[in-house]
Amino acid sequence: MKKQRVRITFSKTEAMRFTGHLDLILTWERTFRRAALPLSYSEGFNPRPIMNLAAPLPLGFISSAEIGDFWLSDEFTPDQVRSSLDKSLPPGLIVHDVQEILQLHGGKLPSLVERSDYMITLPNDYPGLQEKIDLLLQSSQCIRTRKRKEYDLRPLIHDIVLVSPDDGSPPSLRVSLLILPIGTGRPDEVLSTLDIPPHETIICRTAIILKAGEEK
């Protein structure tokens, strides 16, 4: 029985870097049970907890800005939810914000996501990287193959910025990627296009941007 919908913003950190999407859902279910916050469950022989994570985070990425909607079978204040969860979180999850969503039904998170921003820490300088980025941003298409299917990465790229600190510490990329009906922009695909092996970097999602005016 759905009584309340809460939207949680959270980090998925190093300790859970290699936990995939389905296992993350399981981890949340267990976290709510440890917190004695009753999730709503679906009907039928195999009841599942009702929750929606905005966008799956690929294995090996970390995030400081994941968003999930959770339906509870009882009512609590956002502060109560927050403090109960804080006591029950496993290593690798940090809650930043809990909001009540007044609209109990509809407006599922995955359909609201417009864009994801990532910060990618590079292990070292890559000569000619800025030129490659410029070239990519100026091009009108960038055909790549993923899972044996060809697709155009270019329309999925919103922006790429190379940040090279003056103090000599390793550079990073700020990559902003769109989620469109034709596909979802993946930062590892951008890295490969720029000739940077993705597994040498640390990819952190820093924001999930929802379509304006539909957040509540």
């Binding site: 936990t19 981890t27 267990r30 469950y41 022989f45 009841p47 597994h199």
Partner: protein, 625 residues
């Protein structure tokens, strides 16, 4: 290797392998202690991949018990999958513990869980990956002591040259005795010195103190002691009362085979199926009180958040208070979306009402294990149920909402004929027919057919395993007969059966075969895609041994076995009598009604006396010996 260096290398490797979450540790409820502040450091190795090993109850119990002691620490290690193994080898990263990422060679004790024989090559591979010498004789005080335990160590001889000691029986008490003894030994004392102290511990077998002697025909003659004070017999260790179960087990971050909280409700089984190794080695039956189970669940659930609790035992429906337990759980945890699983239910209607009461989640199928398809054969293996009982139970299962019944059978039982095998197909069809009459064409039957492997310390330890060509003939028959709409058949590769049978009843000569097979690449032998029969045949040939000597050979009733010095508490004479009874088709009733003097009570008279009452299902005894 420096800790940071290992971590840096890992950081590079992990993103390149499949399921890296197997290799990181750091899960909820993991325990990391200060390495410098403890006296003895143990790493618990389960020589399979994380996904399987994390579901092993024994490992979790020992982890819990050792880490409760302030002076000891226990960490975990598992076998890397082939891609990670290649990465570890190419980066020269030694096998490490998940908690502190110390190489296994930094620990004082390497405790290895060996519940089944197909882990032996993985065990050797783990030593090699840890850069620890594989043969015990090549290890010194600078290496961890390698101590194994688990059901397969009831015949430790095939792996004797690789181990420093084997725990025979239940580990809960002996593990602390081992650690205490180790802690008391002089720092820097020799390995022999340590082993000399350890040999005082009851239930610990130290192979270096014995040498096997063989007869001219290759059979085993005796075990000669090389150290006079070594015990003649190693009586298995048992606990008088089941110790408190782990209340805060580690919760994995990735999917595992049994992704649930385990809770043991009973140890042992009184049924006496003659093929069953566990049924002998886990005797006597000891139950956990209902109240303790409920109280444990009260803390287990908030500590883990698990939505499923597996109530573990060899035969759930034989737990005396099972109905009461299930009702109490239902009442106590109503509305919390907690599912309970009860493995191993007997073929009787009470099983159906039990599963019904648990409802919550309805699984794909209801499993029944008649093991043999004719009443004659079921009498021989001492699993006496009638066909009618099976069909009646099946009908109830279909009536209560299950669409699929899984039937477990074995072929290769003693005296089995092709007619007995054909009966498997017929009985499966009759069960399906009952299903169709009850729920129509949705009804399904999945028959799983394994091949019987005679195990040491069982009434069938004298029996030969069925020759491969006969197994193939029987499986062919089943593939022809057991087909049609609604029927499915699974079976084991006969070669895997034979492999298991060599190791089960092997002697110390087999160690060379295991070593050679591992050297030429054998590992993950329990995985169909990795098991390589040819490697093993070649290893036998190189060692000059005949595999059939260990597998198909029928043993003489007076044969001395290489495992006779391991005493499971059940007398060999009792096993022999039961073997003889089987040949007459004579069954033995559940021993909770009548004691048949298997030997357990005289062996553990004092323990029984100290634990009076109904939690043991053996009769009470008068004052100890």
């Amino acid at each position: 290797m420096e800790f940071t260096q290992l971590n840096q290398k890992l950081a590079k490797v992990l993103p390149t392998v499949e399921m890296p979450g197997r290799y990181t540790g750091g899960e909820l409820n993991q325990i990391i202690k200060d390495w410098q502040k403890v006296d003895v450091r143990t790493v618990l190795l389960f020589p399979e991949i994380y996904d399987l090993g994390m579901s092993n109850l024994g490992l979790m119990i020992l982890y819990d018990i050792i880490n409760q002691e302030p002076n000891y620490l226990a960490e975990r290690s598992f076998i890397p999958w082939v891609d990670m193994e290649a990465a570890l080898r190419s980066e020269n990263i030694p096998l490490y513990s998940l908690e502190s990422k110390h190489p296994l060679s930094d620990f004082d004790i390497l405790a290895v869980s060996l519940p089944y024989e197909s882990l032996y090559t993985n065990f050797l591979n783990a030593l090699d990956l840890a850069q620890i010498p594989i043969y015990a004789k090549d290890r010194t005080k600078d290496h961890p002591l390698v101590i194994v335990g688990g059901h397969s160590t009831f015949n430790p001889e095939p792996i004797a040259p690789f181990i420093d000691a084997a725990v025979i029986g239940e580990g809960e008490e002996i593990i602390l005795e081992i650690l205490e003894t180790y802690a008391r030994s002089q720092p820097g004392s020799s390995k022999l010195d340590k082993l000399n102290h350890l040999k005082e511990i009851e239930g610990l077998y130290i192979p270096a103190f014995y040498e096997p002697v063989y007869n001219a025909d290759g059979t085993f003659s005796k075990l000669k002691k090389t150290v006079a004070e070594a015990p003649d017999q190693i009586l298995k260790r048992i606990v008088g009362k089941l110790p408190p179960p782990p209340k805060k087990p580690i919760v994995p971050y990735i999917d595992t085979v049994h992704n649930r909280a385990p809770l043991e409700i009973m140890r042992g089984c009184t049924r006496g199926c003659r093929f069953c190794h566990a049924g002998i080695v886990t005797r006597p039956v000891r139950e956990r009180p209902v109240e303790e189970i409920l109280e444990t669940m009260d803390t287990l659930i908030p500590n883990t958040g698990y939505s499923e609790i597996g109530l573990l035992s060899l035969s759930s429906s034989d737990y005396t208070q099972i109905v009461d337990l299930v009702e109490s759980i239902n009442k106590r945890f109503a509305g919390q979306n907690i599912a309970i699983s009860l493995p191993s239910l007997r073929i009787e209607s009470v099983s159906v009402s039990l599963m019904d009461a648990l409802s919550g989640k309805r699984r794909s199928g209801f499993t029944l294990a008649p093991e043999a398809a004719t009443e004659r054969l079921r009498n021989i293996i001492n699993k006496p149920i009638s066909d009618q009982q099976l069909l009646d139970t099946a009908k109830e299962i279909y009536q209560h909402g299950w669409h699929t019944i899984k039937l477990y059978f074995m072929i290769g039982h003693p005296t089995e004929t092709l007619a007995d095998v054909e009966a498997i197909a017929n009985l499966s069809k009759r069960v399906l027919q009952v299903g169709i009459q009850t729920i129509g064409n949705r009804a399904k039957v999945n028959a799983s057919v394994g091949t019987f492997v005679p195990k040491p310390h069982t009434p069938f330890q004298w029996v030969g395993v069925t020759p491969q060509d006969e197994i193939t003939e029987k499986l062919d028959l089943l593939q022809r007969e057991l087909r049609g709409r609604g029927l499915k058949l699974n079976w084991n590769d006969p070669r895997e059966t034979h492999f298991e049978s060599w190791l089960s009843r092997g002697d110390r000569k087999l160690a060379e075969v295991i070593y050679k097979a591992w050297q030429s690449g054998a590992k993950f032998d329990a995985w169909r895609e990795h098991f390589d029969f040819t490697l093993w045949q070649e290893a036998f040939a190189e060692a000059g041994l005949d595999p059939e000597f260990y597998s198909t050979r029928v043993r003489a009733e007076d044969e001395v076995f290489p495992w006779d010095h391991i005493n499971p508490g059940v007398k060999k004479s009792f096993l022999l009598e039961d073997y003889q009874w089987s040949q007459e088709g004579k069954t033995r009733a559940d021993c909770r009604g009548d004691c048949f003097s298997c030997g357990i009570l005289p062996a553990y008279n004092d323990l029984r006396h100290q634990n009076p009452g109904t939690l043991w299902l053996c009769p009470e005894v008068s004052r100890g010996k």
